[in-house]
Symmetry: C2
Subunit: 128 residues, 2 copies
DNA sequence: CGGGATCCTGCATGATACTG
DNA sequence: CAGTATCATGCAGGATCCCG
């Protein structure tokens, strides 16, 4: 496969990308998207399940990122109830599934760093 | 390999990461780092070579990103002259080289999107 | 339960000019 | 040539409160 990054730019929906890597980063970049997606690899998760496994993110941000992932066609949002308490499940679309090898790659590289340099912190120790 | 992302956090240099994916994203995230690194896969490049192949980035930003990549141990900066005109070459360190498979992965996924949806724009058409 | 509304802050990035 | 200095800005993300 030939991937060009010189003297040509990509244009998708009026946005310019200087390199195909920046297209990918636009889809999964940011502080939380890869984390969310990584958690969805195992299967569908409810909003609250995601929140619990990601104790640091705020509800607003989690909600916003999920919306973006949904509008990018990467995750699916399915509502199971019409009246409160609501049940909403998020899952990967086929398009999102195509990201799994990449997500695992990203996690593995980060994990190598973690093994060398990171200290493990328990969630309970941060809760204020 | 087992990669944990629940109920534990990683701490590296006083920074907290909720998942190993976010460690990776901290190293190569942002708008330009993957683009720079992707261009360095072929071998060392001078500052101006990088600038020419990335016509949209400003000098300031390119410079800042290179500094960060350097301080993260991902790229190497080598100065060849003491007096102007300067010659400075950037290259991947061994640590940076360990990113190459991941970078190619990222580029390939983005390239699939590009093939389906992107219009190709010539650099000349943007220059003001 | 699963968010939305509002307000706010910091940081990533840009524009422009200048320099060893 | 390879940057730095200065100033400006937009937007990602946080804090808090509210709602069907």
């Amino acid at each position: 496969m030939k991937i060009k990054c010189d003297s040509e730019l990509f244009k998708i929906n009026e946005k310019l990308y200087p390199c195909s890597t920046s297209i990918t980063m636009d889809y999964i970049g940011g502080k939380w998207k890869t984390v969310i997606l990584y958690h969805l690899i195992d299967g569908p998760k409810r909003y609250n399940e995601l929140k619990k496994t990601m104790p640091v993110v705020t509800e607003r941000t989690l909600s916003l990122q999920l919306k973006q992932l949904e509008s990018d066609g990467i995750v699916n949002r399915k509502v199971y109830t019409t009246k409160p308490p609501l049940k909403v499940e998020y899952s990967l679309t086929d398009f999102g599934i195509s990201l799994i090898p990449l997500l695992k790659n990203i996690a593995e590289w980060g994990n190598k760093i973690a093994e060398q340099k990171a200290k493990i912190i328990k969630v309970e120790d941060i809760k204020k």
